[in-house]
């Protein structure tokens, strides 16, 4: 049932020009960054060869590409997540789901996975570019896998956060700006803390993504991302349930 809902969400996305334009624009931006990195790599390659332990093409090209993709996802996810519940509420279509034999958990998870699949598609396109490097050399697959996993986990955080803000209002644009603000805030929250042991560092999504970006799969960071997504999914379920109870 979750799959049916996720498929419906995905289909709904592709039924609008929004999904296609998001895919096209993001791919164009990522491709530009990718090419710029290749250019710069080719320019410094002779000097790199003189180093004792030079960074490979994965480290030099793919890691920055995925780091940029993370920021781009941060900007793009609210655009996609804002409609999830808010628009159904505005168009009065939410009652179709509420009167169907579905639990609130199924509705929320269906919407979440629908969006996550779409984000995975964006990530997949970035991955395809990275794999294209095989044409000119070999890739550090471990580093690539760590980046991929980190980006997927990060995307699920953005999706869960965006979904929650979408349950709060019936205006998609309000949900959009609120979730953009929240994710941006959580991204850079550590900037205010000079002390590296500050609690603020712990809540910074950027900090947790950095280790994945360096090729380090830290289970603590992974758990943080999973927990973060779970918390906002539970908030969304509770919020929708509360609406049914209190009206």
């Amino acid at each position: 049932m979750i799959l049916t809902l996720a498929a419906k969400e995905l289909k709904g996305l592709f039924g609008t020009p929004l999904a296609w334009s998001v895919l096209a624009v993001l791919q164009a931006v990522l491709a530009y960054i990718f090419l710029a990195q290749i250019d710069s790599f080719l320019a410094v390659q002779p000097q790199l060869e003189q180093l004792a332990n030079p960074p490979g093409i994965t480290e030099y090209i793919v890691a920055p590409l995925f780091a940029s993709a993370a920021v781009i996802l941060l900007m793009a996810t609210p655009l996609l997540s804002m409609r999830l519940i808010a628009e159904e509420r505005r168009n009065r279509t939410l009652s179709l789901l509420l009167s169907a034999p579905l639990s609130m958990t199924e509705i929320v998870l269906g919407k979440f996975f629908g969006l996550l699949l779409f984000l995975a598609l964006i990530i997949g396109l970035a991955l395809a570019m990275a794999l294209g490097l095989y044409a000119g050399g070999s890739i550090d697959l471990g580093l690539l896998a760590a980046n991929l996993l980190g980006l997927l986990l990060l995307a699920s955080c953005f999706a869960a956060l965006g979904l929650y803000f979408s349950t709060l209002t019936d205006s998609p644009s309000v949900a959009g700006i609120a979730s953009l603000g929240a994710s941006l805030g959580l991204w850079v929250i550590n900037m205010a803390a000079a002390d590296p042991d500050s609690l603020l560092h712990y809540f910074s999504l950027l900090k947790h993504f950095e280790s994945f970006n360096r090729g380090l799969i830290d289970s603590g960071d992974g758990a943080f991302f999973l927990l973060f997504s779970a918390v906002f999914l539970v908030f969304s379920i509770r919020r929708l349930d509360g609406e049914r109870l209190r009206g």
Partner: protein, 310 residues
């Protein structure tokens, strides 16, 4: 007596200090069409939202075919089809896609899927419109898609919130026919604020006013109640009111608009025959004689005043 398909007892819904629905209880039997009548804001929609699990009641219980809606919502909801006031339509989907989605959401087995979707389309007169986008359909057709969505999974109870609002007279007639047809195998609850609509489709009627049930009886009882003990008489050369009052059985005479007279009479003492005979004999020029029907507003006023009928 047919099996009870829906049993609501003592439903109450409060919004803060405001009580939208207060202690409403009723039952619905297999094959019955029940009309929910009431002015806007009487609590009809709130009641229907509670019956379909869209809104949790503050207190009270709902059973669908013996299954408690609050304790086993999934099992109970599978037996309900619901058309809210605004049909929940995805404008970007075609009629066929939308009905298939709705059937899937209601856990229709894959094997029966296409047969049921085709049947719903046929019953709602959508067989020609299957490939069209819902957004491009006229209001009447969108309403049909809304009804098709509510019956596609072959539910035991169909709940329709103001199904004929905003339609033209021909469409209204078609939708009414469809609802009467649905009443054959499903149980139907529909809400409206149009009195004749209830009289033409429903077997039973419930009138809500300010969140409470003020009337619950068969259609015939409502009809009797509406007709009451009043005659509307039109006379070209009316006599003095005293002469009319003197007619055997007439209890009170009042002048109505357009030169008409309203004759109230005691129950059982219908003075029609005497009146016609007298009018002919004394040349009053009788041009109109009909039992006066009370309007819906009058019924409401009556009902809310006389607690005896509850």
């Amino acid at each position: 007596m047919n099996e009870i398909t829906l049993l609501a007892s003592d439903l109450t819904r409060r919004y803060g200090s405001h009580t939208a629905v207060n202690g409403v209880g009723f039952e619905l039997r297999q094959g019955e069409v029940l009309g929910f009548l009431g002015p806007n804001g009487a609590g009809k929609s709130t009641t229907m939202q509670m019956l379909t699990g869209n809104l949790a009641p503050s207190s009270g219980s709902i059973e669908i075919c013996g299954i408690d809606l609050l304790e086993r919502p999934k099992a109970a909801k599978a037996l309900i089809g619901y058309l809210p006031e605004t049909p929940p339509l995805y404008r970007d989907l075609s009629v066929h896609e939308f009905l298939t989605l709705s059937a899937k959401l209601h856990r229709v087995p894959r094997k029966q899927m296409s047969a049921l979707v085709e049947r719903a389309k046929l019953r709602c007169g959508l067989d020609q419109a299957g490939g069209k986008l819902i957004g491009s359909l006229s209001k009447g057709y969108q309403q049909r898609v809304g009804i098709a969505q509510a019956i596609v999974h072959n539910p035991r109870v169909v709940i329709l919130d103001e199904p004929t609002v905003g339609l033209d007279p021909i469409q209204i007639r078609e939708i009414r026919e469809l609802i009467r047809e649905l009443g054959g195998e499903h149980s139907v609850i529909l809400s409206t604020h149009i009195l004749p609509e209830v009289e033409s489709i429903c077997d039973r009627v419930q009138i809500m006013h300010q969140g409470q049930l003020v009337f619950s009886d068969s259609i015939d009882a409502l009809r009797r109640y509406r007709q009451g003990n009043t005659l509307e008489v039109g006379l070209r050369h009316p006599p003095a009111p005293g002469e009319l009052e003197a007619i055997n059985g007439v209890s009170r005479v009042e002048a109505a608009e357009d030169g008409l007279w309203r004759l109230h009479f005691a129950p059982g003492g219908d003075p029609t025959d005497t009146l016609v005979a007298l009018a002919a004999e004394r040349r009053w020029g009788l041009f109109r004689l009909q039992p006066a029907q009370t309007s819906l507003e009058e019924v409401f006023v009556h009902l809310t005043r006389s607690e005896a009928l509850v």
